[in-house]
């Protein structure tokens, strides 16, 4: 009997605690009518931000606030919408957290900031800028747009970016580009690993640079590109036979550098792979991949 009473007390306490948490967490929703090519900015110290396309010229912001120590400030100025998590006194990483789900017109330009949460954008064709020291960044299905990413140590995954102007700066996070092409695709990292999986498009400039991180480029059959790779202190490996170039701007020290053309010379992109002490590996994609 005593055991049953004790269990009942525990259940009651659990219900009260859960109820308190539910009360503390609140949901807000905001709607903004905008015109073509609107600008949307979300600044969020703690928490995630996810952006997807809306069905019309409306920006819809769904915010989950994890306590009453944070507010959502919003402002519309013409065709621009600014959203900001406003930390109140005593807020910390838990109580100051807000998770956003934002719907924007597909042609909107989007700027997302978060210190710690994940940043996600998908199915847009407006410019996308994502930044955060520790934010994990996922961007997919973007076309005809600029994609700029800055992180300190968050992982960056870009998937299916077509005809993009892509610039990624990461200090130590791993960067993975899958099916990314466009006139400019550039990744600069200090110590993070860089993976590129794709065909380097038709006539773009692809520049992947890491000081101490490894760089791996995996290309399918039929890729056309002028490729040069060089690692000052690391190794370079080339699984694909390249047609040597007659002129190189740096000495091709065996094991440290290679340069040449793969596929058709007439239709090709320029690919530059550079590292100081990381390994560089150019490999052919297998059928299974």
């Amino acid at each position: 009997m005593a055991v049953n009473k004790r269990a009942a007390k525990l259940v009651a306490i659990g219900v009260i605690v859960a109820g308190t948490l539910v009360v503390a967490e609140s949901r807000k929703e905001y709607h903004f009518a905008v015109g073509p090519r609107a600008g949307v900015s979300v600044m969020n110290p703690y928490g995630s931000i996810s952006v997807r396309p809306s069905l019309n010229n409306t920006v819809v912001v769904n915010a989950i606030l994890h306590s009453d120590r944070v507010e959502v400030d919003n402002n519309q100025n013409g065709n621009r919408v600014d959203i900001q998590s406003h930390l109140l006194a005593g807020a910390d990483a838990d109580s100051g957290r807000v998770d956003y789900e934002v719907l924007v017109p597909a042609d909107a330009s989007v700027t997302l900031h978060s210190s710690t949460g994940s940043l996600r954008a998908e199915k847009l064709h407006g410019d996308v800028s994502l930044e955060g020291p520790g934010a994990e960044v996922n961007v997919r299905d973007i076309s005809d747009a600029h994609v700029h990413v800055k992180t300190m140590n968050g992982a960056v995954n870009l998937d299916n970016i077509q005809n993009g102007h892509v610039e990624v700066d990461s200090l130590s996070g791993e960067v993975t580009l899958t099916g990314v092409n466009g006139p400019l695709v550039q990744v600069v990292s200090t110590s993070g690993r860089i993976n590129y999986i794709g065909d380097f498009g038709n006539s773009g400039e692809y520049r992947l640079t890491s000081h101490s991180g490894d760089i791996e480029a995996t290309i399918p059959e039929g890729t056309s590109a002028d490729v040069s790779a060089r690692s000052v202190r690391g190794e370079v490996h080339d699984d694909i036979p390249l047609q040597p170039k007659t002129h190189n701007i740096f000495p091709l020290d065996k094991g440290r550098a290679f340069a040449g053309t793969v596929g058709r010379v007439a239709v090709s992109s320029t690919v530059v792979l550079r590292s100081f002490s990381g390994k560089i590996h150019l490999r052919k994609r297998s059928e299974k991949q």
């Binding site: 100025n77 930390l87 200090t190």
Partner: protein, 206 residues
């Protein structure tokens, strides 16, 4: 006029030429040194030719820094709904434009490595700019410790790595001063350090 007011007024009147600016500069060695460094950078930039212009990435960084500080942000009619950058960061907000200016100066310096005659003329100016100590690591970490203490170890580690990359890249440039790739790597390394400073000043930080 205090230090903050002087630094704010520099954007309006160059060289500290107003009476109250001059008075403050006479009494404040820190602001006087700041104005001297800004003048040196401006003087060095004016001697450059179009061919020495830094890459678009440099301009992009400067634009981002200016935007983050709000200097090229559209004016809002209503009261700002976030604490202003100035209020929150005080004198430390100058780390952002300082980072941008350092980056610009380093970019010019790297470009000029291939022009020995100009390098000789401007060595004195660029030497101080190329010195990473121009961006004080300790100041940066102090700001992070106050505003984002949980991220302190990450900033420390990344600062260590980026400083290491600058040293390595500088070593390659010293070995091969005519190597364009090496100069670009050095530029990238400074760009990464600049980015670290930008992030530490990030508006989204609590």
């Amino acid at each position: 006029m205090n230090c903050v007011e002087l630094q704010e007024s520099l954007a309006e009147v160059e060289n500290g030429s107003r009476a109250e600016q001059r008075a403050h500069l006479r009494a404040c060695p820190a602001c006087s040194a700041l104005v001297t460094e800004l003048n040196q950078i401006v003087a060095a930039a004016s001697q450059l030719q179009g061919a020495d212009e830094p890459s678009p990435r440099v301009w992009n960084s400067i634009e981002i820094a200016l935007r983050q500080e709000g200097l090229i942000r559209p004016q809002r009619a209503a009261r700002p709904f976030v604490p202003s950058f100035i209020t929150r960061w005080g004198a430390a907000r100058w780390l952002v434009p300082a980072a941008a200016m350092l980056l610009l100066a380093v970019g010019l310096y790297v470009r000029q490595e291939s022009l020995p005659n100009r390098l000789a003329k401007q060595a004195a100016v660029v030497a101080s700019a190329a010195n990473p100590s121009g961006l004080n690591d300790d100041d940066l970490l102090q700001e992070v410790a106050v505003n984002a203490p949980a991220m302190m170890p990450q900033y420390q580690e990344n600062l260590r790595r980026v400083n290491e990359s600058i040293r390595d890249a500088q070593g390659v440039v010293d070995e091969s001063p005519n190597d364009e790739e090496a100069r670009r790597s050095l530029m990238d390394a400074y760009q990464q350090k600049s980015m670290l400073f930008e992030m530490a000043m990030d508006r989204s930080l609590p």
